[in-house]
C-alpha cells in the first residue's frame, strides 16, 4: 500500500491562512491503515487547525469528510455536493488522491507527504518494498527487490559498503543484497548470482515519463462485448 506522513501543522496552517471554510477530506484506504490520513487523523488535524486559527484571531470553520478512496471518481462523486461548501479542501489522501480531487474542485491542498509503497512490518512500522519499476525482477532475486532495498539499486550484488548484513547508509537498514544472498542460499540457488544482470531499461519506470495502464486487449474486448450486448437490447 501507499505510505504517507502527516505534514507539519505550521506548513498546513501557512497555506490555509486565507481560507475560512476548510474541508478536511480523509481517505479510507492506504493512509487510514498507515495512520496518516484516515478519519481519526483528520479529526485530530481539524481540532488542531481550529485551535490554532482561533488563537491567531482568524477563526476558521473546519469540517471533516470521510471518503472511501480519493483515487476513484465514484467515491469523490458521493461527497461532491457536501464538499462544495468549502473554499479550500485539505486532502489527507496520498498524492494521487490530492491530484484527483484537484481535477474536480478549485482549491485542493495536500495534508500529507506521500512517501513510498510499503508493507506493515510491525505495529506502527512500515518499510519500503517496491518502487514500481515496471519490470519486476523478483523472480531472480529470491523475492527481495534490489531496486528498492539496495540503497544503490545494484543489480549484481552488494557494494563495498555492506557490513555485517547492514547497508552502509545506516546500521539500522538491512543490506538488500545480504537478504537476497541469504534467501537464495536457503533455496539452494546461489548459482543464480553468478549471472551478470544486464543494464536495466528504465523506460518502464518513471524515467520514461508519466505512465498509464490501459486494460489489456482481452479485458477491453469483454467490455466491448458487454457494451454491444447492451446496445442490441
Amino acid at each position: 500500500m501507499i505510505i504517507a506522513d502527516q505534514k507539519p501543522l505550521d506548513e498546513v496552517l501557512g497555506y490555509l491562512k486565507d481560507y475560512k471554510n476548510i474541508a478536511i477530506a480523509a481517505c479510507g484506504t492506504c493512509v487510514t491503515i498507515c495512520l496518516a490520513g484516515g478519519l481519526a487523523e483528520a479529526e485530530n488535524l481539524a481540532e488542531a487547525l481550529r485551535i490554532a486559527r482561533g488563537a491567531s484571531g482568524r477563526p476558521a470553520s473546519v469540517r471533516v469528510f470521510s471518503l472511501k478512496r480519493q483515487c476513484d471518481a465514484e467515491f469523490i462523486e458521493e461527497a461532491d455536493l457536501e464538499l462544495r461548501w468549502a473554499d479550500a479542501i485539505l486532502s489527507t489522501a496520498c498524492g494521487v488522491g490530492v491530484q484527483f480531487m484537484a481535477e474536480r474542485f478549485q482549491v485542493v491542498l495536500p495534508g500529507l507527504n506521500t512517501t513510498f509503497f510499503g508493507a506493515s512490518r510491525d505495529a506502527g512500522l512500515w518499510t519500503e518494498m517496491c518502487q514500481g519499476c515496471g519490470n519486476c525482477v523478483l523472480e531472480r532475486t529470491g523475492g527481495i527487490c534490489p531496486v528498492t532495498r539496495c540503497s544503490k539499486s545494484n543489480f549484481n550484488g552488494p557494494c563495498g559498503g555492506s557490513s555485517k548484513g547492514k547497508c552502509e547508509i545506516d546500521s539500522e537498514t538491512d543490506c538488500g543484497w545480504q537478504l537476497i544472498y541469504e534467501k537464495l542460499k536457503s533455496l539452494g540457488k546461489l548459482e543464480r548470482l553468478y549471472e551478470i544482470q544486464e543494464i536495466k531499461d528504465w523506460r518502464s519506470a518513471r524515467d520514461g515519463g508519466p505512465r498509464k495502464r490501459v486494460a489489456p486487449l482481452s479485458c477491453a474486448d469483454e467490455l466491448a462485448v458487454e457494451q454491444n450486448a447492451v446496445d442490441w437490447t
Binding site: 557494494c159 563495498g160 559498503g161 552502509e168 528504465w202
Partner: protein, 299 residues
C-alpha cells in the same frame, strides 16, 4: 596501451598510488601532488568525488596528472551520472589521453557534502565494467549501437578480501572479472593471514590468470588514523598492529614500518602483481614508502 598494463604484462611488480583532487579549482594542488609521485609508481588513482564530497572532477584531475608525466587511473563511480553522461565522459577521457579506468559503485551521497542530492545509480559497477569491455571488444555503446573510434581502456575494479559474506564477495569478484575487469585493486590489507587465504581461493579459481591483482596498502600516520581505518567496513586490523602503533615512540615511523613489512610479505604472495598504496591525507609519505621498499618503478 596503458603504461600500467604494459608494466603488468611485462611481469614487473607494479605500484599504484592515490591522489584525491581538491575541493576547489586549484590546478596547482593536483600538479604538485602528481610531481611528488613522478617516476615512483606506475600509475595513480584519481578519485571520483570520494565519500560523495564535491571535488575537482576525476577527468580534469587525471588530465592535470597526465600533463605532469604521471599516468592516471581515473576512478568512475555510478553514483552521480546516468549512462549518457558516463559514456560521454569515457569518450572524453580517452580523447584526452586517459587509459585506465577503475569502476566503482561510489559511496552513497548521504555521507557527503550534498546529502540532499538525487541518487542516480542508473547502472551498477559490474555493468560499468561490462560497458567498458563492450566498447573495447565489441566496439559498441551500451545500447548496442556501433562506435567508430571506441575507447580502449585498461579496465579495473575493486575487491574486498575481508568483506562478509565471503562467499558472496567471491561470486562478485568472479563476475567482475567475467564482465571484463583486467585489474583488481583490493581494500587495505592488514590481516595477512586472511589475505593469503583469499589469494589462495583466487588462485584456485584461476582468477589471477585472468586479471592482475594489486594489493591495497594503507599507510597510517597516527594512532587515531589506524583507529579510524579499523572502523571502515571490511577493514580488520590485528590487535598486534594496533598495539605496535600505540606503543611506538614515533607513530609516523611505525606506520611506515608496518606498511613496509606488509609490502615485503605481500610482494611474495603468488598471484599478486603489485600494490596499491593509499595514504589518505598523508600523500607525502608515499614517495618515501616506495623508495624504502625497493619497489621503485623502473619506468
Amino acid at each position: 596501451m596503458s603504461g600500467l598494463q604494459e608494466a603488468l604484462l611485462s611481469g614487473a611488480f607494479s605500484v599504484s598510488a592515490e591522489l584525491g583532487p581538491p575541493m576547489s579549482a586549484d590546478a596547482e594542488f593536483v600538479r604538485k601532488k602528481a610531481r611528488a609521485l613522478k617516476g615512483l609508481c606506475n600509475a595513480v588513482n584519481i578519485t571520483d568525488n570520494q565519500t560523495a564530497i564535491v571535488r575537482m572532477s576525476s577527468i580534469a584531475a587525471s588530465c592535470l596528472t597526465l600533463s605532469e608525466g604521471v599516468e592516471p587511473i581515473m576512478q568512475m563511480t555510478c553514483r552521480d551520472r546516468n549512462r549518457i553522461a558516463m559514456q560521454s565522459d569515457l569518450l572524453g577521457a580517452y580523447a584526452l589521453g586517459i587509459r585506465n579506468v577503475l569502476c566503482l559503485s561510489g559511496d552513497h551521497q548521504v555521507f557527503g557534502s550534498h546529502p540532499e542530492s538525487k541518487n542516480v545509480y542508473d547502472i551498477d559497477s559490474i555493468q560499468l565494467v561490462r560497458a567498458l569491455s563492450d566498447m573495447k571488444k565489441k566496439k559498441c555503446f551500451i545500447n548496442g549501437k556501433p562506435m567508430k573510434f571506441p575507447p580502449e581502456f585498461f579496465i579495473g575494479a575493486a575487491a574486498n578480501p575481508f568483506a562478509d559474506p565471503y562467499e558472496l564477495q567471491m561470486i562478485r569478484l568472479h563476475k567482475k572479472i567475467e564482465a571484463g575487469a583486467e585489474f583488481i585493486q583490493t581494500q587495505a590489507i592488514y590481516d595477512l593471514e586472511k589475505f593469503e587465504k583469499w589469494m589462495e581461493d583466487v588462485r584456485a579459481a584461476g582468477l589471477h590468470t585472468k586479471a592482475y591483482f594489486l594489493a591495497g596498502i594503507l599507510v597510517n600516520k597516527s594512532v587515531k588514523s589506524i583507529e579510524m581505518s579499523a572502523q571502515v567496513p571490511g577493514i580488520e586490523i590485528p590487535q598486534e598492529l594496533m598495539n605496535r602503533m600505540r606503543s611506538a615512540q614515533s607513530a609516523e615511523e611505525e606506520g611506515k614500518r608496518i606498511a613496509l613489512s606488509l609490502i615485503e610479505r605481500i610482494s611474495k604472495i603468488q598471484g599478486v602483481s603489485g600494490i596499491h598504496i593509499m595514504a589518505v591525507g598523508w600523500e607525502s609519505a608515499v614517495p618515501e614508502i616506495i623508495e624504502r621498499s625497493t619497489l621503485k618503478s623502473k619506468s
